[in-house]
Symmetry: C2
Subunit: 399 residues, 2 copies
C-alpha cells in the first residue's frame, strides 16, 4: 500500500515552533494550577463505548471515533450492525473519564479533591479554520466542596494563569443556572420547558434578541410569557436589582455576589453579572461562568457547578465544580497577537570541521551552565548554514 | 447502558502519586534533551491504516487498535470484510508518524534535524505485570547526520538524562549490524539467511548458547557453519581482536571504537562492545546499542542507525539514527528502587472556618512566594483531616 505523508483528515503534526509555544503555555498552566494544590491525573484515551454513548455527552456522541473489537471478539460474520463490532472509542472530552476515575478512586483521594487533567480528545467534526479533530483540553475540577470556595479558587487559579501569560483584555461573565430557571417559572412557563427556552436564549450572541423572540414564538410559546421573559434582559441592572424582579432566593444572589467580590479583590480581574449567559451543557446546577475576549467571538473557557453529575455516573452524590480553558483557542489568540515565548536559555551551535574530545567537553560544560548546545559539522554552504542557525536563535562557536 | 467504573482492558488511570513521578522524570528528560538542541514535535495518535500496515512494523501490526470510518463512508451493508470499515488506527509506535512527519516537513526543518517526541502509543498485547495496552514512548532521533556525531550526541544526551535522575547501575552494550552481517557471510551462510540467523542469535539471553545452536540446526543450517559462527562468541575479545577474525572492514571498527571512546570520555558511563547484541527491528543498518541494568532482565532503552528507513517511506535518502528510552520500564524501576521525587515547593493548607478576604490575600502572597497553597474548610473530623493533609506533605495554617 502507498505511504501517505500528510496527517489523517482534520488532524495535524505539530512542529518545533508550534511545540515551543504550546509547551511554554502548558508549563505556565501546570505551574500555576499546582500552586493552587490541583493534582495532575491522566486517564486512557480509549474509553468504554458504553460510557461514551450514555446521552450525557449530547451532540458530541455523534462525533465519536469508534474502535473495533480485537481478536476472537471481532466476529464480522455474525455481526448484524456496526455497533456489534465496537467495544470502545476515543474520548470526546475529559469529563467522562474524569468522572469514571473519580467514581473508581474516590476512597484513595483527598477530599475535597482538586483535579487537573490535560490531554487530547477527538471529535469527528467538520474541520475548519482553528477547529481540529484532535485537540487538547485542560480541565480543572474540585470534587467534594459544596460552598463557593470551589468557584473562588477555580476562578482565581485560571485568572492567575492568564495573567502570568500577560494575556490581556479578557473579562469573565457570570450567572447562575438557578436564576435562569426561576425566571422561566416566574414567567409562567412549565419547568419541563426550561431547557428548550434556555437553548434559544443561548443563541442571543448569534441571532440577537429579535431572533430569540422569533424562535420562542415559532416553538409555540405564548407571546405574553415570551415578552415578559425577554423583557427582563432589556435593562442594565445590578445582580441584586435584576433578581428582585422575580423574587429570587436571596442565598443564590448572595452566593454569586461573594464569588464576584472575592475574585475581583484577590485577582483584580474584570467580572460582571450577565443574566443572558446560559452555557450549553445541561448538567450545570448552580453558578456558571465564561471567559470572553475582545478580539474573538467565542469564549476561550468556562465552567460551572455540576453537583448532580457524579451521582448520575456513580451512585454517590458529590458536589463538583469545574473550569476549563480552551487551550487551542488560547494558543491561536496568542499566535495572532504575536506572542513571543521568552527564551531563557542561550543557544549555541558548535560548528566543527573535525571531531575531538575538547569539542564534546566544551559542549558539556556549556550545557552544565544552562545553555542549549548542539554540535554540528560545518557544511559546504557555510554561509547558508550560519544564517539558518542564527535565524533559529543559535550563536555560532567555531571549534 | 450501564456505566463502567474501571478503565478499558489493559489500560489504567494515573492518579496524583503516579503523575508526580512521571511528570518529574519527563521534566528532567525534556530539560536534558533540549539542552542538546533536540526539538519537541507531536504527531496525531490516529494514523492512516495504510501507514500502519505496510509490514515495516513487524509483529506490532497484529496489535493495532483499528478505528472505524465515519459518516457516509461507513457502509456496513456493502462491506465484505472488516477492513472495508476501517480507515485509520492508533499508532503502535512513534517511528511511523515521525517518519511521515519528517517526509512531509523536511524542507521546513533544520538539517541535521534533532527530533524529540514523547507520547502515548497503543498495542492490543496480552496485558501482564508492567505491560499495558496504552503506554508512553520517548524517542530521540537525528536525521541528516551521516557520521557518528549522531550516535555520540544521542548517547551523551540519554546518559546525561539518566545521570540527572541519579539512576545508577546501568551499562550500554554496543555493536554494529554490519559486523553481524559480515560474520554470517564469512561463515558461508547466504546473505538471505542473515535475518533468520540473527533472530536466533537474538534469543541468546533467553535460551543460552546451546538453545541458539539447537534452533539453528533445527532450521536446517549446516553444523560446520553453525559451529564456526557461534565459535566467535566464546572468547572474550576486544572489538578489534574480535573483528580481526573475519576480516571486518576497518572503517566500521574504527567508527564503533570512536563512539565508545568519545561517549566514555564525555559522560563517564560504562560502555562495552557486545558482539551478541542484535536488536529486533530489521531496519537497523549500522551501530546498535542498548541500555541494560543489573536489576532488570530486559533492556530499558536502545536504538541505532537506520539509514534506509526514510527512503522506504518517502522516496528520498536521509541518514538517520535514534535512541529511545523505555519510559514505562524506567518508571517501574524507579518505583521499585524507592525513588523519591524531590519536592521543591513548600505545601501549605490554609484551614478556615469562615471565608474572608485576608484568607485569599494570604494564599495569594504565599503562592507568589513559590508555595503550593490550598484553602480548605475545617471539617468535622479535624484530627483526621489534619493527618491526611500532613501525610500529603501539607503544613497546616489555621486562619
Amino acid at each position: 500500500m502507498a505511504f501517505i505523508k500528510i496527517p489523517t483528515k482534520g488532524m495535524r503534526d505539530l512542529g518545533p515552533r508550534d511545540m515551543l509555544l504550546r509547551e511554554y503555555v502548558l508549563g505556565v498552566m501546570k505551574d500555576t494550577y499546582q500552586d493552587y494544590g490541583f493534582e495532575l491525573i491522566e486517564t486512557p484515551c480509549v474509553e468504554h463505548i458504553e460510557n461514551l454513548t450514555n446521552k450525557v455527552g449530547g451532540d458530541n456522541e455523534k462525533l465519536i471515533y469508534k474502535v473495533l473489537k480485537r481478536g476472537e471478539k471481532l466476529d464480522f460474520d455474525n455481526a448484524s450492525k456496526v455497533d456489534d463490532l465496537v467495544d470502545s472509542g476515543l474520548r470526546y472530552d475529559l469529563t467522562v473519564p474524569l468522572t469514571r476515575f473519580y467514581a473508581n478512586s474516590m476512597n484513595e483521594l483527598q477530599s475535597p479533591f482538586r483535579s487537573f487533567q490535560t490531554g487530547r480528545v477527538w471529535r469527528a467534526d467538520r474541520p475548519q479554520k482553528g477547529r481540529y479533530r484532535e485537540f487538547v483540553q485542560c480541565d480543572l475540577d474540585i470534587f467534594g466542596e459544596k460552598t463557593n470556595l470551589a468557584e473562588i479558587e477555580l476562578m482565581s487559579a485560571v485568572i492567575t494563569f492568564l495573567k502570568k501569560l500577560n494575556f490581556e483584555g479578557f473579562q469573565i461573565r457570570i450567572n447562575d443556572r438557578r436564576i435562569l430557571k426561576k425566571m422561566v417559572l416566574f414567567c409562567g412557563f412549565l419547568e419541563s420547558d426550561a431547557d428548550s427556552i434556555l437553548i434559544s436564549l443561548d443563541k442571543l450572541d448569534k441571532i440577537g434578541m429579535d431572533g430569540v423572540y422569533d424562535e420562542l414564538i415559532r416553538h409555540g410559546y405564548e407571546m405574553d410569557k415570551v415578552n415578559k421573559f425577554l423583557g427582563f434582559f432589556c435593562e442594565n441592572l445590578s445582580l441584586e436589582e435584576f433578581c428582585l424582579q422575580f423574587q429570587m432566593d436571596e442565598d443564590v444572589v448572595k452566593n454569586l455576589r461573594e464569588i464576584m467580590n472575592y475574585t475581583k479583590e484577590v485577582t483584580g480581574a474584570s467580572l460582571f453579572f450577565d443574566p443572558t449567559l446560559v452555557r450549553g451543557m445541561g448538567y450545570y446546577t448552580g453558578p456558571i461562568f465564561e471567559i470572553m475576549v475582545s478580539d474573538y467571538a467565542s469564549s476561550i473557557g468556562g465552567g460551572g457547578r455540576y453537583d448532580e453529575m457524579v451521582s448520575k455516573y456513580a451512585n454517590v452524590s458529590v458536589p463538583a465544580c469545574g473550569f476549563s480553558v480552551g487551550f487551542e483557542r488560547l494558543i491561536m489568540l496568542l499566535e495572532e497577537r504575536g506572542f513571543e515565548v521568552p527564551l531563557t536559555k542561550k543557544r549555541v551551535a558548535i560548528v566543527i570541521q573535525e571531531k575531538n574530545t575538547d569539542v564534546f567537553l566544551k559542549a558539556r560544560s556549556m550545557r552544565d551552565e544552562n545553555m542549549i548546545v548542539k554540535v554540528v559539522y560545518r557544511s559546504k554552504n557555510y554561509k547558508h548554514q550560519k544564517e539558518v542557525l542564527e535565524a533559529n536563535g543559535y550563536h555560532i562557536l567555531e571549534m
